[in-house]
Every structure is written in structure tokens, then in C-alpha cells.
């Protein structure tokens, strides 16, 4: 294989948008650390990229001089896009090409030698600078000859402007209907007699609604990538799942006393024991009893997950992020508290690894710290449930029964869960919430 060659090349080395974690599809250039003409060493940071989840420094794939910057700061491009080019010396031994599954790249008609592996060679389609508008494949030549077509007149949609078989077929079809010949004699534009009704609703056709404000009193900002990602995800989730919200009231007295008993000991170990950790513990235990809530809907199948990867929604200034606690079913309440604290801290510092914000199987959100008491959250796709812990508030409740009935002051909160009615019904949701509330009112999962 040619990929085993060790050779020195002095050629344009592309800098591409890397795959940052399995779920990331695009990234936005934050800043170019090197400009055209500047030297860069191999592995030195050449630019900073932000995704909807994390910031990443992109190392130069080789040493050399930056010859082209193809994507400006602020622009968002998909993974694999060439961001810049270096005119560098890349040694075969320093940067071995991966050895294949071999895609047999037949040399492009005007191009270089073939036989390289797919992961090291930009595909033919990625080299638009190569003009192939005058290269004609055998089938295109034959069909053109049969129909006496001047191929110069056919516009190509293939790689490098190449005329594809499909382009020629479309041209011939057009020719047959007389359109291609007749077109030049037609007037370029004829005003339609039809006058559309003025738009009545606010929708402008893109799903946007224009507020009735004058431009002078409004300010416009392009959505940040994270904001845009949240917007897309939320709308998609609403369109995907049959959202339904069930709410239970929970008495946190027992949790409060267990927390008070352990808080100081935990604090000495550097662990901040929160109500959220207890709710997470009870949720994980309840998920084991009700596996349909630790699941996803795929097509007409329900996929049950054996492991609980628990998403914890963290509110950042720039938007919501949901880091995931892997295998939460293996963690004690202390372990959960540590994991929550760690993920929240690193989320705020934007130091999460991309894979830490994907792959969740159930999510807990906890905006109660701001005093809200009820909410109907949107499901984090492709999960089927999201549990919302609201503020724990001291209020009067009826306790006891029969002659012992009394009004007492108790730390109370609402657990609101949005669930997907495609996967389960209300009775299951209620039983699941009941299981969580029973565990919490008994002080934990003992």
C-alpha cells in the first residue's frame, strides 16, 4: 500500500475542523492565533473553535507557513471542512497515513496518483479548485454523440463542474420539450397579474414572528451557537414527543434530616450535599423499577437502556447545558453529589469533554434555586422523561391521620416530570413519581 511509504512532501497541508466527540457536527471559529504568512510549529495551536458544548484549541497538523485561511472567525462549518492551508513539510514518518480500509480511489481524470486510503485523502468532491467542466465520462460522451449534443452547452453539477449523466439527461429532456431552444426568445420577465393578499398573521414563512416594533427601538443579535442549538433542539423535541407533565408533591423532612446529619462530615471531605443529589439517588432507584422511563423511542421501537446515564441540566449565562453522569446506578448519594458538583463546575468553566454532554438516558433539571415552584420542562431527546425539581419551600400541610391529624410546617417541593406519551401512559408516570416521592419521604433509598 502506498500508505506505508515514508516520504517527505512539501505540499499544501489542510487544517480541518476535527471531530470533537461523537455527537458534534459543526464548530465555530472563535479566533485565528496565526494569520496568513505566519509560521506555525507542528501541534502548536492555530485557532480556537467553539462548539455548542465546549471550546477546543486546534493544533496545526504540521509545521509550516499559513498560506490560506478559508474560514473566517465567527463562521460555523461542519466537521471535516478545511479551515486553512499550510505550506509545510510533512514527513511520512511523522504523519503516517492510516492504513485503510482501502477505498480504491481511481485517479481523478486530471488529478494525481490514486490508491490512497479514505481517511488520509480528501475525496475528489472536496477539491473544488480542480476544474472538471471539460472532462466527460464515457457514458456522457456516448449519449452526447448519439443525440448530437454540444456538451459545452450543458451545465454540470458533478465534482469540479463535471457534466454528469443526470445533467445530460435533464438537458436532453428540456431539449425535447423545446424549452432549451425556445427560452432565449421569451421575454426575460413578465409581471404576474396576481397580487398576493398582504400577510395577516405575524408569520413570515420561516417560523419567525415579527413583533410590531419599529427598528429604532429594537436591537438585533445573531444567536450564539449554543442558543441556536438549544432553539433547534427544543422545537424538534416538541415536534417529536407527545409531551405530558405529571406533578407530585414531596415532603422533604426526612431528606432534610438525613442531609443535616451528613452535611458536615461530607463538607469535611469537600462534598457539597444538596437536595438534588438525594433526588438523583431516588430517581436512579425508581428508574430501575420503571425501565420504560430509562428508554428511547426509535421508529416504532422502544429501546430500553440497561445503564442509567443521568443528565443534569446546568444553567449557564449563555444557555442551558446538560452534562451526563455515566452509570449513575453505581453511585451512592455521596458519589452523585461529587459527580454533580464536578460536572457543574466544569460546565461553568466550559471544560467539559464533548462526550460528557451526550448519551444521557434520563435528565433532571433543577431551576428551583431561583424560587420557582412549578414548571413543564421539554424532554431532552431521544429520552422519554425529564424530571424537574423545584424550590423546597416550608409551608403548612396536613400530617398524620385520624385523631393524630394536624397541620404542620414542612419543607415541601413539587417534582414535575414531562414524559413522552408515545412510550408510556399516565399511570406509569404517576407510579414512577410515586416511587421517587416515597423514597424521598423515607429519607433515601434504604
Amino acid at each position: 500500500m502506498s500508505s506505508s511509504h515514508t516520504e517527505t512532501e512539501s505540499a499544501a497541508v489542510p487544517v480541518t475542523m476535527p471531530q470533537m466527540g461523537i455527537s458534534v457536527a459543526e464548530g465555530t471559529i472563535l479566533e485565528w492565533r496565526k494569520q496568513v504568512g505566519e509560521e506555525v510549529a507542528a501541534d502548536e495551536t492555530i485557532c480556537d473553535v467553539t462548539t455548542d458544548k465546549v471550546d477546543v484549541e486546534i493544533p496545526a497538523p504540521a509545521g509550516g507557513v499559513v498560506t490560506k485561511i478559508l474560514v473566517e472567525a465567527g463562521d460555523t462549518v461542519s466537521v471535516g471542512t478545511v479551515l486553512a492551508e499550510l505550506n509545510g513539510e510533512r514527513h511520512g514518518t511523522d504523519a503516517p497515513r492510516p492504513a485503510g480500509p482501502v477505498v480504491d480511489l481511481v485517479p481523478p481524470p486530471t488529478g494525481s496518483a490514486g490508491g490512497r486510503s479514505p481517511r488520509s485523502t480528501p475525496p475528489a468532491a472536496d477539491t473544488p479548485e480542480l476544474d472538471r467542466s471539460s472532462f466527460y465520462s464515457p457514458v456522457v460522451r456516448r449519449v452526447a454523440a448519439e443525440h448530437g449534443v454540444d456538451l459545452e452547452r450543458v451545465s454540470g453539477s458533478g465534482v469540479g463542474g463535471r457534466v454528469r449523466k443526470a445533467d445530460l439527461a435533464a438537458y436532453l429532456k428540456e431539449l425535447e420539450s423545446g424549452a432549451a431552444e425556445a427560452r432565449p426568445s421569451r421575454p426575460l420577465h413578465t409581471e404576474s397579474p396576481y397580487q398576493p393578499e398582504p400577510e395577516t398573521a405575524g408569520a413570515n414563512g420561516n417560523g419567525d414572528f415579527d413583533a410590531d416594533t419599529s427598528p429604532a427601538t429594537e436591537r438585533r443579535e445573531v444567536m450564539s451557537p449554543i442558543r441556536r442549538q438549544i432553539a433547534d433542539h427544543m422545537v424538534a423535541s416538541r415536534q417529536t414527543s407527545a409531551h405530558c407533565t405529571t406533578i407530585v408533591e414531596v415532603d422533604f423532612t426526612a431528606v432534610a434530616s438525613r442531609r443535616a446529619a451528613q452535611r458536615d462530615a461530607m463538607a469535611q471531605r469537600g462534598v457539597k450535599l444538596t437536595y438534588l443529589a438525594f433526588v438523583a439517588e431516588a430517581t436512579v432507584a425508581a428508574l430501575a423499577e420503571h425501565p420504560v422511563l430509562n428508554a428511547s423511542v426509535r421508529g416504532n421501537e422502544i429501546v430500553y437502556h440497561d445503564e442509567v446515564h443521568l443528565g443534569i441540566a446546568v444553567a449557564l449565562d449563555e444557555g442551558l447545558i446538560v452534562p451526563v453522569i455515566r452509570n449513575a446506578e453505581r453511585l451512592s448519594v455521596e458519589g452523585l453529589a461529587v459527580a454533580i458538583g464536578d460536572l457543574a463546575t466544569r460546565a461553568r468553566d466550559r471544560r467539559l469533554h464533548p462526550d460528557e454532554v451526550s448519551g444521557g438516558t434520563f435528565t433532571i433539571t433543577n431551576p428551583g434555586q431561583f424560587g420557582a415552584v412549578l414548571a413543564t420542562p421539554i424532554i431532552n431527546q431521544p429520552q422519554v422523561g425529564i424530571l424537574d425539581l423545584e424550590a423546597v419551600v416550608r409551608r403548612p400541610v396536613v400530617v398524620g391521620s385520624g385523631p393524630d391529624e394536624a397541620i404542620a410546617i414542612r419543607p415541601m417541593s413539587y417534582l414535575c416530570m414531562s414524559w413522552d406519551h408515545r412510550a408510556l401512559d399516565g399511570a406509569v408516570a404517576a407510579r414512577f413519581l410515586g416511587s421517587i416521592s416515597t423514597r424521598l419521604e423515607q429519607g433515601g433509598r434504604q
Binding site: 500508505s3 480500509p101 482501502v102
Partner: protein, 321 residues
């Protein structure tokens, strides 16, 4: 019709042929009391007795040689190589004796060599190979490589009834992962006929064995109008089906899990270049394993063997051409 695994379909076909024709017998390592390394012949010794389910010594040359002799004498032996990789030890008897017997002496050698092949399970270099190309260059052998349970049964029955020595490649990765509808009772799939596994207009993936499933999944995930042609028989190739599809779509990717150089893909590509040149709208491309031994390490093995993403990328490139 019954839904069964690829593995059960092979057992089913073999069992039915042994019940139907008492000249059919099996021989191989650990196939009797143990039921075979992959349990294809599980229960066979009880049903047919040890005389028709022979446990052979660790000597593939002896297995193939004995089977060749029995076939010449009118029996229909079905040999099991524990792993297709081990056929190298029986190579001489197969390619020089069995394959050439009819040419030299006009004597039929109706035998089948079952070859559990393929990687993807960290089996390393001695238990993961796809050796079909070794036999493509040995005239006198027929070579089958089914991708579905239905074809596995139907082709095995055809192989047993065929008067020639037949190499029957069973991909181990398909054994328990592929499951489809298989007719009960006599079921025959003709040797030498490819199958359109998915019709399409924009391009063709020509594949066999495990690569058929990669191609089907890639076509579905990409949502493109891709035709998938399952060769099923590698020798003799269904040249008509190959050329018909190539001429219609004008773009062909040949995919297999075996290594690239001088492989089945090379033969198919050469056929298309020679016979369908004026219908091509793109170069014929191949997606294959790299020309290296199969590594034990899972990430290395994944890098060497074609994966779904490689298939999708190769299709995308060809579609964009």
C-alpha cells in the same frame, strides 16, 4: 417460512440433505460429540451416527483428501474447516487434486468445503480471514458466499447436490446476527445468480457476505437511491446481473471484507471496465479491508476492516462525483 438465524439455516439445510440422501456425510474437527466449534452440527452425531458425522484429526489436508476420495467413489462429503484460515493446510488437496480431477480424468468430485470466515470479533490474524480470492484463481472450484439465512440454506443445498467441489464461505459475524425468513423443507437457491438486495438508480454497491449488510444499512441511513447487488456466488460470477446494474446506474462501488489486491472486487471492476465502459459515469471504486493481516486490537481491527462510516463515505463520494 420460518424466521431463523444464518447459523440455523446452514444446520437446517445440511440436516435435510443428510436425511434425504444417505451418501451425504460430514467430516471435520470436533463436529461429532462436540457439535462443531460454532455448533452447526449440534445433535447431528445423535441423529445420523458417528459414521456420517466424522470427527477428524487436526489435519486439514487429510480431511480434504479423504473427502475427495469419497466423492470420487460416489459419496457427497461436506467438510468443515473449523476456521476458513485453516484451509491453507488443505490447499494442495483442494486446488490441485479435487479442483482438477474432472479436467484430468473426467471424474466428478461432488464435495463441499464449509469455510467459517470473516473478522470483527478480535480473532486476530489466524481466525478472521476472508480467503475467497485464493480459490478464485483455481479453475474447477465453485465459490459461494451467502449473506442471508435464506441464501445460506438454499445455496448449501445446491452446493451439496452440485457435481463439483464447492467452497462455501460462511461469515462468522452473520451466524447469529442475521436472521430472516427461510422456507421449511426443500429450498434451493441456484448457484451463479446474484440478487438485487435493494433496487436503486443513482449508483450500485456490488457486495457479498457481510458487506451486503453494511451496504444496505449505509443506503438506508444515507436515504439515497442506491442499488445493492448481492453476488451470492463468486464463481461463476453472475456477469449479466453485474453489467445490467452497472449499465443502468453508471456508478459502481464494489465492497467486500476481504483484502483488496487481486480480490473479487478487482475482478468485478475489470469486468465492468471491459464490458460497460461506455455506460460508466464515474470510476469503478472498491471498499475493502486494507492489505494487511487482521489485528487483534479492536480499534486496529476496526481501522483495517470496512466499517459503516467507510461505506457511507465511499457512497457519498461516488454519488457526488
Amino acid at each position: 417460512m420460518t424466521e431463523m438465524t444464518y447459523l440455523d439455516a446452514i444446520s437446517d439445510g445440511l440436516r435435510e440433505e443428510m436425511r434425504r440422501d444417505e451418501t451425504v456425510f460430514c467430516l471435520g474437527q470436533d463436529i461429532g460429540a462436540f457439535g462443531g466449534a460454532f455448533k452447526v452440527t449440534d445433535g447431528f452425531a445423535e441423529e445420523f451416527g458417528c459414521d456420517r458425522v466424522l470427527d477428524a484429526p487436526l489435519a486439514e489436508n487429510a480431511i480434504i483428501g479423504a473427502a475427495t476420495g469419497a466423492a470420487i467413489e460416489g459419496m457427497r462429503p461436506v467438510c468443515e474447516m473449523q476456521f476458513s484460515d485453516f484451509i491453507a493446510c488443505g490447499f494442495d488437496q483442494l486446488v490441485n487434486v479435487a479442483a482438477k480431477m474432472h479436467y484430468r480424468q473426467g471424474v466428478a468430485v461432488p464435495m463441499v468445503v464449509r469455510l467459517p470466515s470473516g473478522g470483527g470479533f478480535s480473532g486476530g490474524p489466524f481466525h478472521s480471514q476472508n480467503p475467497e480470492a485464493w480459490f478464485m484463481q483455481s479453475p474447477g472450484l465453485k465459490i459461494l458466499a451467502p449473506a442471508t439465512a435464506n441464501d445460506a440454506k438454499g445455496l448449501l443445498v445446491s452446493a451439496i447436490r452440485d457435481p463439483n467441489p464447492v467452497c462455501f464461505l460462511e461469515h462468522k459475524g452473520l451466524y447469529r446476527h442475521v436472521r430472516d425468513e427461510v422456507p421449511e423443507g426443500e429450498h434451493i437457491v441456484a448457484i451463479g445468480e446474484a440478487r438485487v438486495a435493494r433496487p436503486g438508480e443513482e449508483m450500485t454497491v456490488i457486495a457479498y457476505g457481510s458487506a451486503v449488510h453494511l451496504a444496505l444499512q449505509a443506503a438506508t441511513e444515507l436515504g439515497e437511491d442506491i442499488e445493492v447487488l448481492d453476488l451470492r456466488t463468486l464463481c461463476p460470477l453472475d456477469t449479466e446481473a453485474i453489467l445490467t446494474s452497472a449499465r443502468r446506474t453508471g456508478k459502481v462501488l464494489v465492497a467486500h471484507e476481504a483484502t483488496q489486491s487481486c480480490g473479487v472486487g478487482a475482478e468485478v471492476a475489470a469486468l465492468i471496465a471491459a464490458e460497460a465502459f461506455e455506460d460508466l459515469d464515474a470510476p469503478v471504486r472498491r471498499l475493502t479491508a486494507a492489505d494487511v493481516p487482521i489485528p487483534f486490537s479492536p480499534p486496529l481491527e476496526q481501522a483495517v476492516l470496512p466499517q459503516l462510516d467507510d461505506m457511507k463515505e465511499a457512497c457519498r463520494e461516488l454519488l457526488a462525483y
